[in-house]
Structures are given as C-alpha cells and as structure tokens.
C-alpha cells in the first residue's frame, strides 16, 4: 500500500553547519516525487531524513516534523519498523555478498519467520516485478556480486521491495549505470510507484521530467520551489529555478 510522506519546518544541522533550512514539502502517495538541484544542495540529506538513516551519522541533529501518512517518524516510530516501511535504494548498487536468493530473502527473514514456500514466492514475485526473474532464475544460488551493474541495482530494488514498503527512497539510483540500465530502472520506478510511493534524488533533469509527477528544486539547503513536474519545468516561479533548469549554473 503506497503511503504519503510530508516534511514540515525541517532544519538539519551537522554539528554547527546547517544543511537544511525550513523545508516544508508534501510527497503524495502512489506518485513519483523527484528532488533536483546542484551537488551539496541537501537533497540526499533530506532523503535520508525520511527513513532516519541520518541517525547513524554522528553530530547530525534534526528539528521539525517528518510524517509517514499521519504519523511522526521521529516521535512515534520504532526506527526499524520505519525503515521496513520506507525502503531505500542507494547510489552505488550494493548487493550483499550472498546468493541472489538470499539477497532478496534478507529483509523478509529479518522481519518475521516466513516458511520456505513463502520465501520462494516472495523471491519469485519481486524478481519478476523488477524484470530480473528470467535473467537469474537458473542461478539464484550465484553470488549477488556476480551480476552486472544494472542487474545489481534491480536486485537491490527487489531486495527493498521484498518487505513491501509503503515508500521507496531512491538516492541517485542510476548515476552509476549505463543508458540502457538507466532506462530499465526509470521504467521500474514509474511502475512500482503505484504500490510503493517513490521519492527519487537525481542529478539528471531529463530523468526528473521523464518519471516524476512532482518535482522539488533545492539550492544551498533551501527548498526553492516544489510543483507538478510539467509546471516546474515550463513555468518556474523562482529566478534560481529558471537559471538552474536553463543550465546557467549547476
């Protein structure tokens, strides 16, 4: 079940340095929301607030509210349950050095005691969903590290989907991939968003226009502008957005 997320008056500090300033943003359920902006603008940092991966960074302090549905994720959520419901795909494909099967079964195994038959079912369904089943069904016992970059990233997406999260965070998931693999991952993001809200960070503006319905532009830790993607790209309200989109900086 796709869930919505929202951020209100969010400020984030690394020690004394303020990395995010007064961010307020809604990310609608069942859609793809894209974060764009130049390097160091805080878009990945915001993404990592949504499933509290920033908790692991020493000296990182968050003020304001982040909600999953109607529930505050910093106040009312067990962090492990939150991360099960808000999955994450990373910039560099990071399959575990385990078999392809165990990679997908990893999450379900740690969130309950599924039977072998249930696991087999989950593995087949999720690998089919990411379009990897036909490529790997005869070598499920091979190491996840034996896959190519694009396959590995789709395996990581399958691994995240196997625990059926309401939201899937993607942190520049195609920046290490070739154009064909990038295309496959983009199609996949659009496809899975119906069941698992997708929030994607990207450097690539074309990618944002291709797949997202809502787009947020960040600059120097501020949310400059957020709007439906078509509107943001055709009639940006802020001068900085326009300059970035037309390639005057970035």
């Amino acid at each position: 079940m796709a869930e919505s997320m929202s951020v209100k008056d969010l400020n984030l500090y690394y020690g004394d340095h303020q990395a995010l300033k007064d961010i307020t943003l809604d990310m609608p359920a069942g859609k793809v929301t894209a974060f764009i902006g130049p390097s160091g603008c805080g878009k990945s940092t915001l993404l990592r607030c949504l499933n509290r991966m920033n908790d692991r960074i020493e000296g990182c302090r968050v003020e304001g509210t982040v909600k999953l549905g109607d529930t505050d994720v910093y106040e009312n959520y067990d962090v492990y349950e939150l991360r099960r419901r808000v999955g994450m795909v990373f910039q560099k494909p990071n399959p575990f050095p385990l078999s392809i099967y165990d990679n997908v079964a990893y999450g379900p195994r740690h969130h309950g005691k599924p039977s072998k038959a249930e696991l087999d079912q989950i593995v087949e369904t999720t690998l089919t969903d990411v379009g990897l089943w036909d490529e790997v069904k005869d070598k499920l016992d091979h190491s996840g590290l034996s896959l190519s970059g694009g396959q590995a990233q789709r395996l990581c997406i399958a691994r995240a989907l196997a625990v059926n999260p309401g939201v899937l965070l993607m942190d520049e998931p195609t920046s290490a991939l070739d154009p064909i693999s990038t295309g496959l991952v983009e199609e996949l993001a659009v496809k899975v968003a119906k069941e698992h809200t997708v929030i994607i960070v990207t450097h690539n503006m074309q990618q944002a226009t291709r797949i997202s319905t809502k787009c947020a532009f960040f600059y120097l830790g501020e949310l400059v502008e957020a709007a439906p993607t078509a509107q943001l790209f055709s009639t940006p309200k802020d001068k900085r957005t326009e300059d970035y989109l037309t390639g005057r900086f970035g």
């Binding site: 492990y80 099960r84 999955g87 990071n94 050095p97 385990l98 740690h110 190491s143 590290l145």
Partner: protein, 319 residues
C-alpha cells in the same frame, strides 16, 4: 674512475648522435636491478636450502636408519635410545603429534570467542575506542615475548590447575590456556582488520531494510568477513602450533600418549627444544628429531597454503 670512463663513453655516443648522454642513468638502473635481484636470490636460496636441509635430515630417519613410516607416525612410545620388542628403535611420534594438535585446536577454541567478540565490539560498536586505544593495545600484546607468557603460565595457571583438579598442574589444558593468551592478540587484530574491511555500503543496505545492529552483524558483516576471519584463525593456529618455549614451560614434557587434559604431555616443539642439544649429529636420536622438525615444517606450509586458498576464494567472492 668509472664515472670518468662512463662520461667518455657518453661523449663518444653523442658524437655518433645515436644515444645522448644516458649512460650514467642506465648504469644506475642496472646496478639497482642487480642489487635487488641479489636480495631476492638470497631469500629464495635461504628458504630452499632450509626446506632441503630439514627434509634431507628428517628423511634420513626413514632411508638411512630404516625406521618404517608406520612406527614413526603410528608408534606411541618415544624413547629413541632403546629398541622395542621387534628390534626397531622406539621412535613413535604420535604422542607429540597428538599433543601438538590438541593444544593448537584447544587454544584456538578458547581464544576465538573472545577475539571475535572483542573485534565486533571495536569495529561495530565503539569504533573510536577501537582505533585510538584497543588496536594499539593489541599490537603491543602481539609483540610480548613468549617466555613472558610461559612465566605467567608457570606462576599462575599451573598452580591454579593444581588446586582445581589436583595432580601436577602441568598438562595440555594449562598449555592451551597459555597459548590462547598468546594467540588472542593475533586473532583479534586480524579479525578486526577483516571486519573493518567490510564496505559500509553493505551495512547501509542492511540498516536501510530495517535491520538492527545485531541482525546486520550476523546477516551481512560476519558472512562478508568470513574469509578474513578464517585467515585470522589459521594464523593463530600456526603460531600456536609452532610455539615452543611457552608450551614447554607448562605442558609437563612427558613424551607419552596424552591421557587427558590434566596430565603432563608433550608437543613436537617441546620435544625438539628439550632434545636437540643432547644428541650427537648423525645418530638415530638426532635424525628422528629432524624428522619431527620436518613434520612441523610441513604443517606450517599447510597452514600457509590454507591461508592462500582462503585468500583466493575470498578475493574471487568479492570481485
């Protein structure tokens, strides 16, 4: 003189306009190659002659002195100066082989849980403490001479054993405990390295799926570090297997088949250090000691071989 000679040569070649003034550099190149090449040759020659010497002396037991392999590896009585009922000298090495393997395995078994626990703590739980205090500390421990461990064993563990189970207090368990102390820093330090080498992206992946720290450690970190941890264990075993002095001080040095953990026994190394000074070169009692040394040497080669096999498998796995 040479420099001048070389200069003349280079001037000559300049005049023929083929090679311009490179001779001095080329000379340095060649000298460098020769010097480093000689060093390599020296090391290789040393290793080869060492192996050759130990093996030729050791094999003399079987070729020159005519001891059947069976009565050396299978015999349980060690008394090279006497002949058995069948006229063959009593050179059964089985008690020492069993003794060596028991103290090695037992000491590893004792040390491993502590080493693994400590390295998990300093890598996964308190990395700051680990890198600033714990790692330098283990490095110091690695460097402590074995005689110190032997003394501690003699002064504390042997009396403690005596009080606990009676008898002399010398024996396989005492030796294993002393060895466990000795190899603990080796295994800890190597398995710490192995855990620290696990890429953070694996941890991110696991935490990102909502796993706890322990689930992450057991599910991803330990499996990824397994080749390194196995290497750490083998290095510890090889150190325990080859240790002579500390073991000799606490094992009791009775060249008999080990009856239990608490009775005096002996190992290949302890018999070697006790006996080597007392036997004349070229006699049978001396030759069988060389045969023991050969067994030791082969075992350490096997340990190294295992480490390499693991390393290759681990490298292939992480590609």
């Amino acid at each position: 003189m040479t420099a001048i000679g070389e200069k003349t040569v280079s001037n000559k070649s300049e005049s023929t306009a083929e090679v311009v003034g490179v001779s001095p550099k080329r000379g340095i190149e060649r000298r460098g190659q020769i010097i480093t090449g000689l060093c390599v040759t020296l090391v290789v020659v040393l290793v080869v002659t060492l192996i050759f010497m130990v093996c030729s002396r050791g094999l003399a037991t079987f070729t020159k002195d005519g001891i059947p392999l069976g009565s050396f590896f299978g015999g349980t009585t060690w008394n090279p100066h006497q002949n058995g009922a069948d006229g063959v000298p009593l050179v059964g090495a089985l008690p020492m082989i069993v003794g060596s393997f028991s103290v090695t395995l037992l000491s590893c078994l004792i040390a491993l849980p502590f080493a693994l626990g400590a390295s998990i703590f300093v890598v996964e739980i308190a990395p700051g403490f680990g890198s600033k205090i714990f790692r330098p500390l283990t490095e110091v421990l690695v460097g402590i001479p074995s005689v110190v461990f032997g003394l501690v064993g003699l002064g504390i563990i042997v009396p403690w054993m005596r009080g606990l189970v009676g008898g002399t207090g010398y024996g396989i368990l005492s030796a294993s405990i002393v060895l466990a102390f000795m190899i603990l820093p080796t295994i800890t330090s190597l398995s710490t390295d192995a855990l620290a080498a696990v890429p953070n992206s694996y941890r991110d992946g696991s935490y990102g799926l909502g796993c706890t720290r322990w689930q992450t450690i057991v599910g991803v970190v330990l499996p990824s570090a397994l080749p390194g941890i196995l290497t750490a264990i083998i290095m510890g075993m090889s150190r325990a297997f080859g240790e002579a002095l500390a073991v000799q001080m606490v094992i009791g040095n009775a060249a008999q088949m080990p009856q239990g953990l608490f009775t005096p026994a002996s190992t290949l190394t302890s018999v070697l250090t006790m006996g080597m000074g007392n036997e004349a070169m070229g006699t049978l009692p001396n030759d069988v000691l060389w045969a023991l040394a050969m067994v030791l040497l082969i075992m350490s080669l096997v340990f190294i071989l295992i480490v390499h096999l693991i390393g290759r498998k681990g490298a292939a796995k992480n590609d």
